[in-house]
């Protein structure tokens, strides 16, 4: 067995586990937590296209989640359009907004870019919070929109149990991971990488860095908006403070930073660590030590940033590779030292 086969086997194994999980985890509570974990992994992977590969730090992605959620919800509540269709409309609107935000801000560097994206997202939140109607569309200000639990079923994007939501978000996550993998090996991926690390050098080589970043931003905002619709249909209630909030934008960035920006596995690892830390510490300390989960959350963040500034994906990849090497060593006998040396 060689390294490639082992990788393939591990991949298939993970897929089997992911698809079989709801057969084992019967508790709606835990399935709910896992669905949100995938949701955040998906968001962070979408964010990663800009925040990871393009080397800038956008901190306003909640705006796109909000656009997606509000668009599909308003279309379905007021015009009876299926959220699946509304999801695509939301994605297109988010793409336009993303490009409009990107045009002026991508010229900024470092913290200025981050601050500008925060400002845009907060601006959108303040608008939504302070108007009840945008034209004929009812956004209902700070009160938010409640989706009445009508008929469940695939067309209405509404289900009585957690399993359908689980598989929808799982498939979305796998697709966005595949897209990321594809882009990272494409010309665009190399442009983004080059532009992110050494913009001057990249431009000197004739790469249109700004254009590459805009394309990444367009894709990222489109994909993020799709998750907004998912969230609206999953929780059946949206309001500005929960989905266009800075908290959400920051959490996406935290997950990426913890897991490892610019890597494919990073967002998944980050979500796998941070989400359960947040959820379980809230469950266990929520009533006796209120606020404890926030302290634990912060502590984990500090520790990881201090000891693994490039994120968890780095040591874990190393560990995985050495494991693979040892496996190869055992099955082929003599090649053991060779395998380790190569890793």
């Amino acid at each position: 067995m060689n390294e490639k086969q082992i990788n393939r086997l591990a991949g298939i194994g993970l897929l089997v586990i992911a698809f079989g999980l709801p057969l084992v985890v019967r508790s709606a509570t835990y399935l709910h937590i896992v669905v949100l974990l995938y949701f955040y992994a998906y968001l962070t992977t979408s964010w990663n296209l800009v925040g990871g590969f393009a080397g800038v730090l956008p901190l306003g992605h909640a705006a796109f989640v909000g656009i997606g959620a509000y668009t599909s919800t308003i279309l379905s509540l007021q015009y009876g359009i299926s959220p699946w269709l509304g999801m695509l409309v939301g994605g297109v609107i988010a793409t336009i907004v993303g490009v409009l935000i990107g045009l002026p801000t991508f010229k900024m560097r470092g913290a200025y870019f981050a601050l500008a994206t925060i400002a845009f997202a907060e601006g959108i939140r303040v608008i939504v919070e302070n108007v009840d109607y945008i034209g004929p569309l009812k956004v209902n200000g700070p009160r938010g929109l409640q989706i009445p639990p009508l008929e469940t079923g695939l067309v209405n994007y509404m289900f009585a149990s957690k399993e359908p939501y689980y598989y929808i978000i799982l498939v979305m996550l796998l697709l966005v991971l595949f897209l990321t993998w594809f882009i990272s090996r494409s010309k665009l991926g190399y442009y983004l990488n080059a532009g992110g690390e050494e913009p001057e050098a990249a431009m000197a080589l004739g790469i249109n860095v700004a254009r590459a970043k805009l394309i990444a931003m367009a894709m990222s905002s489109f994909l993020t908006a799709l998750a907004g619709t998912f969230y609206a249909q999953f929780s059946l209630y949206i309001h500005p403070k929960s989905i266009i909030s800075l908290d959400l934008s920051f959490e996406i960035a935290f997950i990426a930073l913890i897991g490892g920006r610019g890597s494919i596995a990073g967002p998944i690892l980050g979500a796998l660590l941070l989400r359960p830390v947040g959820d379980f510490s809230r469950i266990y300390f929520g009533d006796t030590l209120p606020g404890m989960h926030l302290i634990i959350f912060g502590l984990v963040l500090i520790l990881v940033m201090h000891y693994q500034p490039r994120g968890l994906q780095e040591p874990l990849t190393r560990l995985y590779k050495s494991l693979v090497a040892r496996l190869i060593g055992k099955t082929t006998g003599g090649g053991q030292e060779h395998g380790i040396a190569r890793s």
Binding site: F285, G286, P290
Partner: protein
Amino acid sequence: MSVFRKLAVPALAATLIAGSAWAENVKIGNIIPLSGPSATVGQQGKNAREMAIEEINAAGGIKSLGGAKLELVFADSESKPEKGVAEAERLINTEKVNVLTGCWNSAVTYPTTAVAERYGIPFVVPVSVSDKITDQGFKTVFRIAAKDSWWTRDQFSFLKDMQEEFGTKVEKIAFVYENGDWGKGFAGQWKELAEKGGYQVVLDEPYPSTATDLSPVVQKIKRSRADVLMLVSNAADAILLTNTLAEYKVNLKAIIASGGGHADPSFLKAAGKSAQYLFDIVEWETDVNKPGAKEANEKYNAKYGQNLTGEAVDAYVAMYVLKDALERAASLDPAKIREALAATNLSDGPGMIVGYDSIKFDATGQNENASLVMVQVNDTGKGLERITIWPKSARRAGYTPVFPMPEK
């Protein structure tokens, strides 16, 4: 983890051990904001519930269930709807609670009651004033507090009564409110009431509760030359607004607040003299004329170092409402508990310290008797205090309200 909980709530542990030998405990899940921006009100709600449960368990628990003890399970919503929903799922599915209560923030209560409805678990809402909570057509939701259309209705009746009593005419009104769910809900109804009452609205100004400087808002109030200012504020902004109004020497005939931040125990301490003559509408005041109220307040104050507030009283009473319903249901079947709650008519007995006669739910699950009182902040020689003045039948003996406010 369970060891942790028992250590932290020794009283609860005792009831757990004592109760387990006899009958199954009744598990009450409570989703309230224990961290985040509304943590102080959440804590008051937790204290009030714990005090009530201790009393009920010490008096023998639920007799029709073989002396079953009540057991509280708390979950932190952080004032976030999605956390509230997740916690409701967990409390129902994993903790297997028999009933739910919560969530103070209307934005959290709204989607969370939908979860309870789906599972058929009875949900008692002590306080969350938004009208829509009982307007959803849900069968399992029961609210003890008055809803916001009643609060605004009573504020305007109060204003009318005061004008008649003191012969002072009010024409121009200014609305200033926090720009959240709660403030916007109030403001919408104020506008309708002002139109009906023939008042002129000279200012309609929402502001963010997190603001650190409200002088632009106060300048607008001053320029509007309003006779009466009506407010909806959370804790920190209520203090800031009151102090800034005093600093700018804004002359008004009356300021009418809507509980919340203005009723918080920290408000009088921090605003002090600036808060004098303020009117505030609340559900309950410490000088309410009701047997047991004074004792309950003294006990609460000794335990937790502050007076009971309207919110805390509703939480406290909610436990007695549940106890009464469980006693009559004589079963842990959620459908039976729901039926018993719907038939509630609680008028006396321990814990009934609300200002009105009885608790009774209408078809939507709203407590139809919930009523409100207006208080004025003034100093009658014992320092600033909150004095009940309206309705007139409830007015503290010997006190004459100050209206209009003296010029500054």
